[in-house]
């Protein structure tokens, strides 16, 4: 029992990262109706820019700001592509376009960052917050979870209580109708892309020092993040938050069982499968199809 608890706590680091990026994925989907495969890659580009700026001699925090700015621009650039050419496309097409963009970004990123050669990421918030069940829970882990929770609550409030939030929801549901009603569709979507770019960059800066420090691994964090978003059916921030935490904790737990841990990396897919089956439980086969 104690060993189980220890393994679960050991999964907290991953859990925070998945939850934070999962909530970001839901945010993008709710506001601009895109299943965004490039989320983590945008953040990764910004994070690598930060270490580039540090290498150029910039002090840490100005480099962080500059990296976030690059991430914001990268997000806006992807947003420009998506809103300019694919705003009327179907959700499937948009998802496919971001998946293609992800492949392109990873290829370029690997080329510019020295491939599999590791980089040194500065730890923005070094040290350990507390020790639980024999596991050091780092400040960075706690921070990702806190940020994920804060982002969930703020996003809920923003979408349900503010005028811009209302416009954004209109925009994502019926972009043409929203435009005819006078909502500045293009500007707002750009803004959403830029904001998520900035936010995921900052998230990645916290997460990166604890993960494999190469461009591809960090960009592929989008997989568990999208699994978490799917738990929330790309609608509910809270469920996505819970989903991300759950996937991380289950990943930690499986490492306690020798026979299970070799299947550890398929946990996100199992979770997604279970959620899909559960969410379709009421539907009869014909309707579901």
């Amino acid at each position: 029992m104690n060993a189980l608890f220890t393994s679960a706590v050991a999964g907290l680091t991953a859990a925070g990262a998945y939850a934070l990026l999962g909530v970001c994925a839901v945010f993008t989907y709710r506001l601009v109706a895109v299943v965004n495969f490039t989320g983590a890659a945008i953040g990764t580009a910004g994070t690598f820019s930060m270490i580039g700026f540090i290498a150029l001699g910039l002090p840490l925090w100005p480099a962080v700001a500059a990296g976030v700015a690059v991430g914001t621009l990268a997000g806006a650039a992807i947003g420009f592509v998506m809103t300019r050419w694919f705003s009327e496309a179907s959700a499937t097409t948009k998802a496919a376009v971001t998946a293609a963009l992800l492949v392109g970004i990873v290829a370029m990123g690997l080329r510019f960052t020295g491939g599999q050669h590791p980089q040194e990421f500065p730890t923005l918030f070094p040290g350990s917050a507390f020790r639980l069940a024999g596991v050091e829970v780092t400040i960075a882990s706690v921070l990702t979870i806190v940020l994920a929770v804060a982002f969930t609550m703020l996003a809920d409030l923003f979408l349900n209580r503010t005028n811009i939030g209302l416009h954004l929801r209109a925009l994502s549901a019926r972009p043409m109708a929203a435009e005819l009603l006078g909502v500045r569709v293009a500007l707002l979507s750009q803004l959403v892309w830029a904001v998520t770019g900035a936010f995921t960059t900052f998230a990645l800066m916290i997460i990166a020092p604890q993960r494999s420090p190469d461009f591809m691994s960090l960009s592929l964090l989008v997989v568990p993040a999208l699994a978490a978003a799917l738990v929330g059916a790309f609608r509910s921030f809270r469920l996505a938050l819970a989903g991300g935490l759950m996937i991380g904790l289950i990943e930690g737990l499986t490492s306690a069982f020798g026979s299970l841990s070799q299947y550890r990396s398929i946990v996100p897919f199992l979770v997604v499968l279970a959620v899909l089956l559960w969410s379709q439980r009421g539907a009869r086969w014909d309707e579901a199809r």
Partner: protein, 395 residues
Amino acid sequence: MRGTSTFLTISGLACFAGLALAEPAAAAGPTCDGGAISVGAVSTITGPADFSEVPKAAKVVFDAVNADGGVNGCQIDYTISDDKADPAVAAQAARDLIDNRQVVALVGSASLLDCAVNATTYKRQNVLSVQGLGVDAACFNAPSVSPVNVGPYTLTTAMLYYASETLKNEKLCAFFIIIGGTQEAYKQGIANWEKITGRSIHLVDLTLPLQGDLTPYLIKARDAGCDAVLTNQVEPGVVQWVKTAEAQKIDGMNWLFLAPGYTVEVAKALAGTEQPVYVGTEWEPFTETGSTANAEWIAVMEKAGRSLTAFSQGGYLAAVVFLDVLNGIDGPVTRDSVNQALLTMQPKAYDLAGSPYVFGAADRHAPMQATKIMKLEKGAWTVETPDWVVLPSVE
């Protein structure tokens, strides 16, 4: 400094020219009717990894020999084929080299899957491969391939041997990422260590993920009371492993990694760590630019303007081995005469490696059984064992 490097270049070239031109005085030496000797390499160049530095270094050696008039007047026509880490492309590349290019041998290949895909083809077509960098398990388990590197599986045995015999660690643990058919080879590496030392491994975990958080694994190692932990993480994974150990405030455990962890970038990325980090090398440590064992290799690479990496040592060594074999041939250089020379060759020592190289007629080949251990000290690799750690033969 400039003077030293010029001296090295000149002396290196002198040795090198001597090596290339040293035909037996009495015998006729190798001859070529077609005018050139066709040699090939299959390498992963584009795709998830880039091993092209290995065959490119071999090409540097062959180019230098060609510029000097070739091997007994025969030019070497060296073709490097990209397998893109794709089995179909790898098979096609091998067929092209064998059927169309009519290569007499493969030299300096380095690929994620060349051996796994092509070793049986080489056997069937009667072509032998002096592999520049054996990566997949088949490279060390086929009659048609004999790598010039130690390889991850023998290095597994060697690192455990160093930990138990030199560091005097009692509880040794091993965590492996298993890709493709490597599981049996790693298990065999551990079993060989157990046979050599009469000890048994404390903990083996074959479930390390390619991607993902490592915290649960480090906690597992700590709670198991491991004195030393060996993993086969590659570069970014090494950094992540040590950083996670630091985050968990683990101390008193030795971290052992295989040759992929031995890069300048890893040392830089871990410059701030206090954790004891050891890696095993494939050859004479490439970061020791002052070492005499490296002098010839450095001279040749610098003259060609190529960077000094471990990969280039592999390509260089494979090419030098092959040239020695060629020079021992008396008469026409054909696939048959090269095979004959490789299969009957005597073990030959090279400064770059701790064991003599031999091809021979065995069912499988792992001639390299020695490593040097490097330790991470403040952002740089330092030689922990100036003498080679040579594995005793497994009874």
